[in-house]
Amino acid sequence: MPRLNLRQMKENQSGVIAAVRANGELGRRIRDMGLVPGTEIAVCGRAPLYDPVALRLLGFTLTLRNNEADFIEVDVED
């Protein structure tokens, strides 16, 4: 499974979070929402200006900015 940065993922692409490199408040917020290694996610859409990105995980929808997605690495399914 290739490893991609979350920002580079395409719509409807899914994968498993491999690493979250954010620290401090952002890191905390990301993890609070369940974005921890091992969680399955799918990109379900992007805002009209291509940023932020919307994700589907653990049965809910989450949105974060592209520059926040940069800290998250995902093993994607081909």
Binding site: P48, L49, T61
Partner: protein, 737 residues
């Protein structure tokens, strides 16, 4: 002693709905001291059970990053409720239990309400509540807050747990060998020293040190600097070790293990999926349309426009009732009291002031109803999602748009409900910047000022001018926000990471409670602060009064006019019947008398404190082209922007001019030397940007949590307004206009 139960849970887990179902109308809303987080309390009474229920703010976690989290944590630690009812969204168990685990770590007895179990079942998620209960060691009760199903069973479980009264042991899960080792090393030290032991369990303190929790570290340094330093050093050692060996930090490891623990619990047969989880639910299908690249923004514009119309058009009738009532009251005072100070105070100070403030109430109710509808349905989160990219450029947040629109982003709004609309913003810095810049928008009260000036000097380009004025307000507000965010409110943008909750039909009861609570808070405020400021402003424009000699002069002039006229004409003017057709002579005399009254009012205004302020300021304000008359009018505009028009009327001896019918004043200005296109432009720019009216200032202070920000908005806005006005006037003058 009465049993206190805290109600906690993630945002969008149905917490407010459950709180309303449990407490009905027995609620009390206030604020936590020093922060703008709402504190709701209510009572639950049934079959001899009686509980005080405190609704904690919705949070995802118990860190110390957001005011909501700090408030929730402080409440649990300081007020020591006997029990926490944690409402979890059954369809979303894994993430919701993350908060539950943290309550358990803190050692507070927890009772779990497995809410929206019906939605979960419809989605094919089956949850074994008994098994979850056994694994977590906490009661788990399925509920449906909307219908009230399960709420009595929930409270019975809670009552049983309180009655059993056994102190619950803090949950001690493993956070991996490295973290565990450090925890085991620090916990005995903390326990032995009694470090922060009054409030927190020892292992929890150690855990928070490892999580880099600023609040606990501060408390620690104050309580025992030596041990605190020792703890921090131990955490640093672990941190360095983890970074070198695994490229990670203690707080990350801890979070990962919490989720690991939850996953292991859920995997033991608690949750079974009968359908494919990636299936598109109704909510996702709606999103495919509502956030679609082209359709999304179009629908959003329509919704925002709809909200605006809902707020300002539908509230017109009730606003007219309220205004009518206060006009009638003023008329009564006018008719029943003798001319003099008391009448003037009652009419201009109290009735007009309170009337103006209460007049906002219908607006605020409609605004909150509309915003609550958008918020509770889940659409507001989509607005933030779609607009974030634009507002972020200016250091704001996608949600800022609501405050801007309601404040007058579509000309004719009102900053008072606008500022309150910023409550939906959870990011503190972005919120403050929104609060401070939303009043730049062109509220309905500024419009008569623009109408007056545009009619006088730009009568051939009225529509164009109004569009330009709106554009200037938007550009100014966004740039000012950016300026604030790189100076006074600087700091990285608050993480955007946000849930897009599933679309839900809001409950009508919830909407009504929500709307009423907020409106009532506003009315209470109006009764106190706003009344006193209104009286103060009245006094500024009334005292000191003209000296007796001057008053006598005006009386003499009147008497002279009357004497000069024939007896019959004088009689005709004296008789108070307004509608009677008068002779030409009588009308001429009446006009001359009114002119004298106008001059008297002008002299009185100039003599008052406000007048003296206006005159004194002339030396600076002439840079922007304003004379003392404009200055006084602008001082008066602090009460409400449309007062600028009526005060200008008085200052130009026309008596009080009705802002809706400013034609004569407009003509007068057009003919007055010293007034021209440039002065008008400069005044328009100043009016857009200068200090918000005092009702808005009071609201800003309240929403920002400190008077400091209210004062700041007055000074900062006036300064910007003045600089821009000077820029316009001086550039224009230099160019020879």
């Amino acid at each position: 002693m009465e049993t206190t139960i805290a109600l906690a849970g993630n945002p969008n887990s149905g917490k407010s709905t459950l709180f309303n179902a449990l407490t009905g109308a027995r609620q009390h809303v206030g604020n936590y001291p020093g922060v703008t987080v709402e504190k709701k309390e209510g009572r639950y009474l049934r079959n001899g059970l009686q509980f005080k229920i405190v609704d904690l703010p919705g949070t995802y976690s118990l860190t110390a990053y957001s005011p909501e989290e700090v408030v929730a944590r402080d409440f649990l630690v300081n007020e020591k409720p006997q029990l926490v009812i944690d409402i979890v969204d059954a369809a979303n168990l894994e993430r919701n239990l993350y908060l539950a685990i943290q309550f358990m770590e803190l050692g507070i007895p927890v009772c779990i309400a497995l809410n929206m179990i019906d939605v979960a079942e419809k989605r094919g998620v089956k949850i074994d509540a008994a098994k979850l209960c056994a694994l977590l060691g906490a009661p788990v009760v399925p509920t449906v807050a909307r219908s009230g199903k399960g709420k009595d069973e929930l409270m019975d479980s809670a009552a049983a747990l309180v009655k059993a009264g056994k102190a619950s042991q803090p949950l001690a899960i493993s956070y991996g060998s490295d973290v565990d080792r450090t925890l085991d090393e620090l916990t005995p030290k903390i326990a032995a020293a009694g470090f922060l032991s009054g409030s927190y369990p020892a292992r929890w303190v150690a855990l928070k040190y490892l999580e880099n929790d600023e609040q606990i570290r501060c408390l620690g340094r104050r309580a025992d600097p030596k041990l605190a330093a020792e703890l921090e050093a131990a955490v640093d050692r672990l941190s360095t070790h983890l970074q070198e060996t695994a490229d990670t930090y203690p707080e990350m490891v801890i979070a990962d293990h919490r989720y690991g623990f939850i996953k292991s619990v859920l995997k033991q047969g608690v949750v079974t999926y009968q359908q494919d989880l990636s299936r598109l639910f109704l909510s996702d299908k709606i999103d495919k349309v509502l956030t679609q690249r082209f359709l999304g923004p179009v629908i959003m514009a329509a919704v925002v426009w709809g909200l605006y119309h809902f707020t300002f058009s539908l509230s017109e009738t009730p606003v007219a009732w309220v205004e009518g009532f206060f006009e009638w009251l003023g008329g009564q005072a006018d008719a029943r009291l003798a001319d003099g100070l008391l009448k003037s105070l009652l009419k201009s100070g109290i009735i007009d002031g309170v009337g103006g403030v209460i007049g906002f109430t219908p607006l605020i109710m409609f605004m909150f109803f509309g915003i609550s509808l958008l918020e509770d349905s889940g659409y507001l989160a989509r607005v933030a999602y779609m607009l974030d990219r634009v507002f972020r450029i200016f250091g704001l947040h996608g949600s800022s748009v609501m405050a801007f629109i309601v404040s007058g982003g579509i000309a004719g709004g009102c900053a008072v409900p606008g500022v309150m609309a910023a409550r939906t913003l959870k990011s503190p810095r972005e919120r403050l910047a929104t609060l401070l810049t939303a009043p730049f928008m062109n509220c309905g009260a500024k419009l008569p000022v623009f109408a007056l000036l545009v009619a006088a000097f730009f009568s051939s380009h009225e529509a164009l001018m109004m569009v330009l004025i709106t554009a200037v307000a938007w550009i100014g507000a966004l740039l000012a926000a950016k300026l604030l965010r790189i100076t006074v409110i600087k700091g990285a943008s608050t993480p955007f990471v946000m849930e897009l909750p599933p679309y839900r039909l809001p409950t009508f009861k919830g909407l009504l409670i929500h709307t009423w609570e907020r409106t009532w808070q506003y009315i209470k405020k109006a009764g106190t602060v706003i009344l006193s400021i209104s009286i103060l402003l009245w006094a500024l424009m009334t005292f000191p009064r003209l000296p007796e000699a001057t008053l006598a002069q005006f009386e003499e002039q009147r008497a002279a006019e009357m004497a000069a006229a024939s007896e019959a004409v004088a009689q005709e003017v004296e008789s108070a019947e307004e509608d009677k057709e008068r002779s030409a002579d009588a009308r001429a005399l009446k006009e001359r008398l009114l002119a004298i009254d106008g001059q008297k009012a002008e002299a009185g205004l100039r003599h008052s404190i406000a007048g003296r302020m206006g005159t004194a300021l002339e030396s600076i304000t002439h840079l922007a082209g304003f004379d003392w008359r404009t200055n006084i009018a602008l001082v008066g505009g602090f009460a409400a922007k449309e007062v600028v028009v009526s005060t200008l009327g008085t200052a130009y001896s026309l008596g009080e001019v009705d802002p809706e019918e400013s034609g004569p004043l407009s003509e007068k200005l057009a003919q007055t030397p010293g007034w021209g296109v440039l002065t008008a432009l400069s005044l328009i720019v100043f009016t857009i940007f200068y200090a918000p009216c005092f009702v808005a200032v009071v609201c800003i202070s309240r929403e920002a949590g400190s008077w400091k920000w209210g004062v700041f908005s007055m000074v900062f806005n006036t300064l910007i307004a003045f600089l821009l006005a000077v820029l316009v006037f001086q550039t224009g003058s230099a160019l020879g206009f």
